[in-house]
């Protein structure tokens, strides 16, 4: 398992960049391992906060030293990213740079100090690499320089004299700055490595940084992102880094509980609140008190429950069902959804009041296709987990060609989809030492349809069907010889197939109409529509049979389809007129 890397920072300072003696002192003070490479005997640092590369921001020639922005720029570029793929967590930048004459020992003689040369470097690096956090470190009074520093792009400022505060050691100050501003990987100490959020793309590290910042606050935290991007993992990350980390971590997902039971699950009840409530029970809000409550699929919560969430999310108090007493809570609430809540609010599906209470600090997780550089490390971690879970051979290497296949794919189902693909590869070849391109079967990158899972069926129905989606689902579907066992288990998938076929027919109907020149509409053409769909010429009787059978795929939804599509309704009546005999009783009226 990959060990998260220690953060790497760039220090741009004329003194510490050139004088090894002074640099060693700074490293000892801030807990930095010097990895610049020009010190033949750097001091070992116990429990380093970060590894540091030092750059003077100057050119030294015989007899003099000169300030040079390009030197600093090039140093920043070398770690953005480095040849090994890591990136600067942040840059520490001095403001005053001293240039001028040097004696034969390389020591300054008559030198000029430029109190603001650092601002030139700041301006250059911020424009060239806007995502690198830059912290100015200076003995200048903060109030005198902070406006210039912030307007040119500095994220923060550390004052050298007493290092800003009299109580915190410099090492602690640096840890705080890295935590608040730095772009760093998930470096938590974890009992279970499966919980680690893997990735060092800029997008992912920004999301982690946003999560750390949110974790220090008191408001609600909203996690946004497509299905399978890791919102639940990030919620756990927030909990682990917050002041509530010693408290309980509770999860609520409306899809895991019947709608009628959701209110009770959330708020609990007093004894006798309803028939069957023989004793008082706390809800999940209370169970998460002094800890974190994670509400997943927040955008799918029904409107009546949305109303009841207004007060807990704002005032941090709940009432149990049947109770009148308000129970105060000390709780962190993290909510996640893949929905566009702004759109849903405009459409009336989501309460605006509720949205206003949760969107003060939204954090968006990037889809996998926007962080493809993370695919190798994610795939490696997933592969190890899957091999262990399935008692398959480990270690197992992913070939470069295989990685290319993985990185060329667009991953509509994100990390969950990647996991499914790798799981298939592991299960299909438990004893392999390597994963080759032919092991990768995208088929459907969606979750395999679980015949017994109502949740899977519900998710399917929610989406607008595409051909790829349906093919994917059907390729995973476990058909049975005794089809009566299928009936009723997945009515929604049958309904969706019927609608899909109807749409398919509608396209053929529209194309095949007999139109006069210049006319936008025309006469229905049964034979033409059926021939279009099948790709072969069919005569009217056979065409009518085909169309009737197709529209009768699911009689439960037939009227709905016909009501919405006048052309199909007209065609259906016509085929019934042409072929009035009832369908064969032995024919299935469900799946074709």
């Amino acid at each position: 398992m990959r060990t998260p890397a220690i953060p790497k920072i760039l220090v741009i300072d004329d003194q510490f960049g050139s004088s090894l003696k002074d640099r060693r002192n700074l490293c000892a003070l801030f807990g930095l391992n010097d990895i610049t490479g020009d010190d033949t005997s750097p001091e070992p640092i116990k429990d380093p906060v970060a590894e540091a590369v030092f750059c003077s921001g100057q050119i030294r020639a015989i007899g003099h030293v000169e300030n040079n922005v390009k030197i600093a720029h090039d140093a920043a570029a070398k770690g953005w990213p480095s040849s090994d793929g890591w990136r600067w967590a942040l840059i520490l930048l001095d403001l005053r740079f001293v240039s001028g004459a040097l004696n034969e020992n390389g020591e300054p003689t008559e030198q000029d100090g430029d109190d603001t040369f650092g601002l030139s470097i700041l301006d250059d690096i911020h424009n060239g690499f806007p995502d690198i956090p830059i912290i100015v470190i200076s003995s200048r009074d903060r109030n005198a320089v902070i406006v210039d520093c912030r307007t040119k792009g500095a994220a923060d400022f550390i004052q050298r004299v007493g290092y800003g505060t009299d109580t915190k050691p410099p090492r602690e100050i640096l840890v705080e700055k890295i935590t608040e501003h730095g772009l760093i990987e998930d470096n938590r100490t974890l009992k279970n490595e499966k919980s680690r959020i893997v990735g060092r793309s800029i997008a992912m590290m920004k999301a982690l940084r946003d999560a750390r910042r949110a974790a220090t606050g008191a408001g609600n935290i909203l996690l946004l992102g497509e299905t399978g991007v890791g919102k639940e993992l990030l919620a756990r990350y927030v909990h682990d880094l917050s002041s509530k980390k010693m408290g309980h971590y509770e999860v609520f997902n409306p899809h895991d509980i019947a709608e009628t039971l959701q209110e009770d699950r959330l708020f609990g009840h007093i004894q006798g609140a309803y028939s069957g409530a023989s004793s008082a029970e706390p809800g999940i809000f209370e169970l998460a008190n002094n800890g974190t409550l994670f509400i997943d699929e927040f955008g799918d919560i029904k409107q009546n429950l949305q109303n009841q969430l207004l007060r807990p999310l704002e005032a941090r108090c709940v009432k149990r069902q049947g109770g009148s007493r308000e129970i105060p809570l000390n709780i962190q609430v993290v909510l996640a959804t893949n929905k566009n809540l702004d759109e849903d609010t405009q459409a009336g599906r989501f309460k605006k009041d509720l949205l206003n209470r949760v969107k003060s600090y939204p954090i968006t997780l990037p889809p996998l296709r926007e962080r493809k550089e993370d695919i190798p490390v994610i795939a490696s971690q997933l592969l190890e987990n899957l091999c262990r879970e399935n008692s398959a051979r480990w270690p197992r290497k992913i070939l470069t060609d295989t990685l290319k296949v993985l990185m060329d794919y667009e991953w509509p189902d994100n990390i969950r989809g990647l996991r499914n693909v790798l799981e298939r590869a592991v299960k299909n070849n438990k004893d392999a030492e390597i994963v080759v391109p032919s092991d990768i079967n995208f088929g459907s990158s969606k979750e395999p349809v679980d015949v017994a899972s109502p949740k899977a069926a519900l998710e399917i129905v929610k989406e607008e069907y595409s051909l790829d989606r349906l093919i994917g689902i059907m390729s995973e579907f476990q058909f049975q010889k005794d089809y009566s066992k299928l009936h009723g288990k997945l009515p929604d998938i049958q309904k969706a197939i019927a609608k899909f076929l109807a749409n398919y027919l509608l396209s053929a109907v529209d194309v095949s109409k007999k139109r006069r020149a210049g006319a936008t509409d025309g006469e229905l053409n049964i034979a033409g529509a059926a021939s279009c769909m099948m790709g072969i010429q069919l005569k009217t009787p056979k065409a009518a049979d085909l169309i009737k059978k197709l529209l009768q795929t699911d009689k439960n939804v037939l009227n709905e389809i016909l009501d919405k599509n006048p052309s199909l309704k007209e065609m259906y009546h016509e085929v019934l007129r042409l072929r009035p005999s009832k369908p064969n009783k032995k024919q299935s009226s469900r799946l074709l």
């Binding site: 002192n25 490293c27 003995s139 200048r140 009074d141 007493g162």
Partner: protein, 163 residues
Amino acid sequence: MRDFDWNHLRSVLHHDWLQKYITFLHARRDTLDEVSQGKAEWREDIKEQFLEWRGKAGLFKTLIDSCEEALSPRQLLNELPLSSMPQENKEWLGEVIHGLYLERTQIKTAAASLKTLLEAVDAAYENLLGGRCDKGSPVGLFIDKITELSKAISKLPHNIQAV
């Protein structure tokens, strides 16, 4: 001392040297504590850096002693256009301007305070070398005093003060 010379001295002493020295003291505090308590011997590189104060103390005294004059608006009488005034006018006007400046900025008080601080730093330095301290850590006392000195210097104006 002219204002630009004074500012140059200030930058070299305070920004360029003192910040590094304070960094050194904080970084090596544990080692210096052990040495001052007789629990360890001096490491040559650390001793060399520690002793740098001795060579700089005199320069800090010069900086403090000359701050009153260097920051006085009386300096402007040495530059055009004011330098073209008759000498006798420059003399009385200079006295008036300087008097106003002293009254408004209280620079004498600041300078006196800095001198006291400097003496305290020197005393703490000698105590540390001699392993003497009435209470607490001699290293801690030295660091506290020199940090106080640095902060006080930071608060001095950077330019000639207009009145």
